[in-house]
């Protein structure tokens, strides 16, 4: 516009540089705390509170977000939710499994009646039907209980308090307080949680939230954890005590996942993603009683049904592919077995086996299908298993040399390993960076391998297995 503007710019730049160089430390904290203090003292003078009209929400918040009681209450709630989920899911799970077993028998009879070829029966019934049947009977009941309870807690206004409690921890690790919210989303679905990190404005803190989101179990992994915990971890308990122990173990896994999330956030914010957390305000909505029936119905339909639909859509083709891989032979060994044998030494070093490794690799598209693939792979070895009893499943695992260590490490690997294909795709879409997408694959994988290798080595060293 005129020749003077560059000069203005120059002097402005010299000013800003001076501004930066005069004060060594970040003064934003001082500014903010001065403003807060001023606001507080103004309110002290001009705002008063009548007694006896104490706010119910404030009273509840004093309990739920208290420094002493906040975390124990959170753990208790989590424990109760798990307990109800596991206790409630057992019966319907076996009922659905029985139903599928019965239907499979009828379908097989039907195939025989029309003299259908053996391979068609194999693909459609032993592959597709049995695979999806397992997914539904293992996943549907816990999801149908877990999601509505979660939705109720959310609508009562408790979940924002959880975020508030977690906020302190995340800030201390150099992340953004809102990371607690995106982490909570991750318990539902990591792929969706990656999208939800958009609420974090700072790119650095958003990247932290993306890279660590995978360390909380999504609903594709809940069934794996619940199944293995109830089959192997609580053998010494019976009935309600067993359910309680399972809930306790799941809680332990969730806590471990959160600890890993915080640790990785902390390490990254001290190394590759250096910086200080930015300020933000988390508004706590008032506690209120939700429309209970409405919430339950919507959560069951929206969440449980959609998750199930996705699982079936992904599991169906995967079941067919797994069946084909397990039944196409080169020489006297199936393609699947070549793959499994190749992975076996690696799996053994991590306290698992080649089958489990193959299931995790083939399960990349969706975590929901890891257990079904594993079951199919074990079953393709000869022993036929109809879907009717979850107890029989344990026998299959034990027949393949499983111990508590195998189950523990598979759970750990499931908790810590790379995100599913959908999540990785979303990470790429959101970050537009191949490097960070790769990092979000590599960091969890390295941690998963490291942790399982460690537990396997320690357990073997002490002769626990």
């Amino acid at each position: 516009m005129n020749s003077e503007t560059p000069l203005i710019r120059k002097s402005l730049e010299s000013l800003i540089n001076e501004g930066k160089s005069t004060i060594k430390t970040d003064i934003r904290d001082d500014i903010v705390s001065s403003i807060y203090a001023a606001s507080k003292s103004l309110c002290k003078e001009a705002v008063s509170y009548q007694k006896g009209k104490a706010n119910r929400s404030d009273a509840l918040d004093a309990i739920f977000t208290s420094r002493i009681l906040g975390f124990p209450i959170m753990l208790l709630m989590l424990g109760v939710v798990f307990y109800i989920t596991i206790a409630g899911a057992n019966v319907p799970s076996s009922m659905i499994a029985e139903g599928f077993g019965w239907a499979e028998g009828k379908l097989t009879a039907g195939f025989q009646a029309i003299h259908a070829p053996e391979w068609l029966h194999g693909i459609l019934i032993l592959g597709l039907f049995r695979g999806t049947g397992w997914v539904i009977s293992v996943m549907l009941p816990p999801m149908a209980i877990f999601f509505p309870i979660f939705a109720l807690l959310e609508n009562y206004g408790y979940l924002p308090r959880v975020a508030f409690n977690m906020d302190r921890l995340f800030k201390r690790t150099g992340g953004h307080g809102k990371q607690s919210l995106t982490m909570a989303m991750g318990f539902g679905c990591n792929a969706a949680a990656i999208m939800s990190t958009r609420i974090i404005e700072s790119p650095r803190e958003r990247m932290l939230a993306i890279l660590t989101n995978n360390f909380v179990p999504c609903n594709g992994r809940w069934p794996t954890l619940i199944l293995l915990a109830s089959l192997f971890m609580t053998a010494g308990f019976a009935g309600a005590a067993g359910t309680l122990a399972t809930a306790g173990i799941l809680m332990g896994f969730v806590l471990f996942g959160i600890v890993v999330t915080l640790t990785v956030s902390w390490v990254l914010s001290k190394t590759a993603l250096k910086g200080v957390p930015s300020h933000y305000t988390l508004e706590l909505p008032p506690f209120r009683r939700p429309k209970i029936i409405n919430t339950i119905v919507r959560a069951s339909i929206d969440k449980a049904w959609n998750v199930l639909k996705r699982a079936v859509i992904v599991a169906a083709p995967a079941s067919i592919i797994t069946w084909i891989l397990a039944n196409v032979f080169i020489g006297d060994t199936s393609i699947l077995m070549y793959f499994i044998n190749f992975l076996d030494p690696f799996g053994k070093a991590l306290g698992m086996d080649g089958f489990i490794m193959a299931a995790f690799i083939l399960g990349l598209p969706a975590n929901e299908i890891v257990v079904p693939i594993l079951i199919m792979a074990y079953l393709s070895q000869g022993a036929m298993l109809e879907i009717e009893d979850l107890g029989k499943l344990k026998q299959v695992f034990i027949d393949h040399g499983w111990t508590w260590l195998t189950a523990l490490n598979m759970m750990l690997f499931s908790l810590l390993h790379y995100p599913c294909g959908t999540t990785l795709f979303n990470i790429y879409k959101e970050t537009k960076s191949k490097k960070w997408t790769f990092m979000s694959f590599a960091i969890p994988t390295v941690i998963a391998i490291g942790v399982t290798f460690l537990t396997a080595t320690v357990a073997r060293l002490f002769g626990w297995v």
Binding site: I8, G19, E283
Partner: protein, 241 residues
């Protein structure tokens, strides 16, 4: 006729938009802020023969430009310089809401504090002494309930009197730690030399200390746009001093 511009600032969920709708009725236009994916809404209101243009700024908790919303709100107040800024605060959580009000008071003199949700606050037993608050903050404080259309006339009357100059404001000035104050003092005079009295120099100095680079760019653009004629010796002084 000269249309007066009134900006509405406030935290999210303070009923700012309810007030905006109550005041403007259907006379609204919405769109985006230039180049931003932030909703921009403005509307007209007439009071005692004076035409006002109300601009609904994005709801924010602070004006540190942590986010696009905050940047849009801040830039509007500082660079567009509305004739008055209404800070809508939530009467049920005064302490948190005043944080934003204090930040606005650093940026402009023409401020009215508008305590909304006063009915809810009363229900919760919160008593606000607006007279005391007004004398402390040095600007008019009006209690309203936008959804019950309570106190709207008083608010409009206050706006009119402020713009006519019947009300003189003396905004509350934040004091920071001595070390920061010293630096502000050092920078402020130089900032004023450079940008004149058109912009809040003390606030600008504070932003410079805070290392707000984006603001520098904005200011530069702004000066370029206005094509301010500044004599070259002034720059010489600014650079050499």
């Amino acid at each position: 006729m000269n249309v007066k511009k009134i900006a509405l600032a406030g935290n999210p969920n303070t009923g700012k938009s309810t007030l905006f709708n109550t005041l403007t009725g259907l006379k609204q236009h919405t769109g985006n802020w230039p180049g931003k994916t932030v909703v921009h809404a403005e509307g007209n209101v007439q009071y005692q023969g004076q035409e006002y243009l109300l601009i609904d700024l994005p709801g924010t908790y602070s004006l540190f430009s942590n986010s696009t919303d905050e940047e849009v709100a801040r830039d509007y107040i500082v660079f567009e310089q509305p004739d008055a800024t209404l800070v809508v605060v939530d009467g049920t959580s005064m302490e948190r809401n005043l944080n934003l009000a204090l930040q606005v008071l650093e940026m402009t003199d023409k401020v009215i504090i508008c305590i909304n949700l006063i009915d809810e606050a009363e229900k919760k037993g919160i008593v606000i002494d607006e007279g005391k608050l007004s004398s402390k903050l040095g600007v008019p404080v009006v209690k309203i309930s936008a959804r019950n259309k309570q106190g709207i006339d008083t608010l409009l009357d206050t706006i009119a009197r402020l713009l006519r100059g019947d009300i003189q404001t003396k905004p509350y000035r934040m004091t920071y730690q001595p070390e920061i104050e010293e630096q502000i003092k050092k920078l402020e005079s130089r900032v004023r030399e450079l940008i004149g009295h058109d912009y809040p120099s003390r606030w600008m100095a504070l932003r410079l200390l805070d290392g707000d680079d984006a603001l520098l760019k904005k200011l530069h653009e702004q000066i370029q746009m206005k094509g301010r004629e500044v004599k070259s010796y002034e720059f010489g002084n600014a650079i050499n001093s």
